[in-house]
Symmetry: C2
Subunit: 333 residues, 2 copies
């Protein structure tokens, strides 16, 4: 007793119409006489017919699924974007093929290829680095690609972000205004455009505006992990820093807890401000001040933009910049 699949052909036969007509009613094509539609619908219901999306995809060349490349679902920043992406996708009847890339270039390219092989209608890429190879793959892709919460120096791919330079500058200015002369800049790899080309630029700008000389001893390049942050305390103190801008929340939590554990009082003796405003900022004590980003919206807007691209609709602006903010909590004075 194998499970029997009922096809459009069965429905056509039972309803005494052609497959074309069944297809029309299934797809809501208006050119069907109401009586016919009703008859077909009844048969569909009776036979419990479910259209086969794969066959549909082959025939129509549309799969109503989009690929999403994410560094790690486990990361609060990216998973928040992913949530926004999925909600909007669902709203537009798309499904998401989600794959973790670990920001590993090779894996990214490979994943991209399997997504394209699966004929996804579009792709959303999240990741801190767009290599030449990746860029080349994007170009050859017939499916539109949009970057979410991720920048590319070449600025050719559609993308959704905030103004990192301004945001970081403002955050650092805030720290400086509190009297900190030595503000540390803590981030992930400087190979990543978002760090070297945006955040660092904002940092330098704030310094310059305040007439403070840039000192690369205050720049700390590390991993985006809690542990990495936690073990940064000695170095931070040694450099004489009294405040820090940190490029990732988990990392920031580590920095802060490391400081606290070493007996350094936050924010009295050391202020820290972080970047992503994930839930985490509220969980730690003191609560962390942060640049605020509309995380969910970045994902949502990216997906919405992608729907337009997939639909070949006119798009006013390929590069959308969402507003950021600064949320002062208790890790700053």
């Amino acid at each position: 007793m194998e499970k029997q699949t009922v096809t459009i052909y069965d429905v056509a036969r039972e309803a005494a119409v052609s497959m074309a007509t069944v297809s029309r009613v299934v797809n809501g094509n208006p050119n069907v006489k109401p009586a016919t539609r009703k008859k077909v619908l009844e048969v569909i219901d009776r036979l419990d017919y479910r259209p086969n999306a794969v066959a549909r995809g082959l025939a129509s060349k549309k799969t109503t699924t989009v690929g999403v490349i994410i560094p790690d679902v486990t990361n609060a920043y990216f998973s928040s974007l992913a949530r926004g992406i999925d909600d909007i996708a669902m709203m537009y009847k798309y499904n998401i093929i989600l794959t973790n890339s670990d920001e590993n270039g090779g894996k990214e390219v490979q994943v991209l290829n399997t997504l394209m092989a699966k004929q996804v209608d579009g792709i959303i890429f999240m990741g801190n680095q767009v290599t030449d190879e990746l860029r080349e793959e994007f170009r050859r892709s017939k499916a539109p690609v949009v970057l979410a919460g991720s920048v590319d120096e070449e600025k050719v791919q559609p993308s959704v972000n905030i103004d990192y330079v301004a945001a970081v500058a403002e955050a650092v200015k805030n720290l400086i205004d509190h009297g900190n002369q030595k503000v540390a800049f803590v981030s992930g790899s400087m190979d990543q455009a978002i760090n070297h080309d945006y955040r660092l630029k904002g940092y330098k700008k704030a310094l310059k505006d305040a007439g403070i000389a840039y000192d690369d001893k205050l720049v700390f390049e590390t991993d985006y992990t809690y542990k990495a942050g936690q073990s940064l305390e000695p170095a931070l103190s040694a450099a004489g820093a009294t405040a820090a801008f940190v490029g990732d929340d988990e990392l920031a939590a580590g920095v802060m807890n490391g400081l606290t554990d070493a007996g350094v009082k936050v924010p009295e003796e050391f202020e820290v401000i972080t970047s992503n405003d994930t839930k985490l900022t509220e969980l730690v004590r003191p609560k962390m001040s942060s640049i605020t980003q509309p995380l969910y919206d970045i994902g949502a807007v990216a997906m919405r933009l992608l729907t337009k691209l997939m639909n070949s609709e006119a798009v006013e602006e390929n590069t959308v910049i969402l507003p950021y903010g600064l949320m002062k909590r208790s890790s700053t004075k």
Copy 2:
């Protein structure tokens, strides 16, 4: 200049062989003469041929993609499982269609249906409640379904979990052993099997073993959110509880911070132990003691089990129980 897709037919023509042969080399079928294989491979390379997975899926009735239903990617517990799932899936050449259900029964059923329409080869379901309707859908599905980190009272679906009853009992016993006579039980909805049928059972068992009477005034049913936990303090104090077992880490963090903010010292005056051992437990201060679960492995094992099921391999045990532990950190004495 439309992008031209090169098909298996093009390759066959260029290589002067049949489509069948090309298909064979693409699929690694050994019945191809080395010389022929080489020739075909060269053409594939020259034309940059990429097999169309949709067509392949239609012809072979296998899509090498599995559906994953998750309450919310943003939730650390579930996203950890998801990571395990994806890694193993990738290892076995499967892709993941990920959809958020918000534990909403209607949405779950709908999502399940679109997954089935997309002809996924298998499904992994995460969610705290398996309704009759859902169970019915699972049954009619021709794709195998396995539950990950989720229980079903009927115990018919293959699943991967830990022994919640024993784990909770042990955790609560620990609290009782520290002298706490009034241990609160804080969890999400009691409609969820994992709460009423497992955790609560473990809680009662520990109580009984210690000769303490069960008091439903100490059972707090709430949402799995940080905020919900935070606002629980007055009630907890009013009930005279001096310790709590909490069913979710984020909720627990809320409970703990709420307590601390109200001036209650953790763990001196109130101990709390949580359930999922996500990263979060290490980020908050004091660090939270927790039942430890092999989160990643639950996902990984579930996916591995699914691959066997999809492959119709014999499976020794459909219900796998992974080991748990108890990690004492600083929220307990």
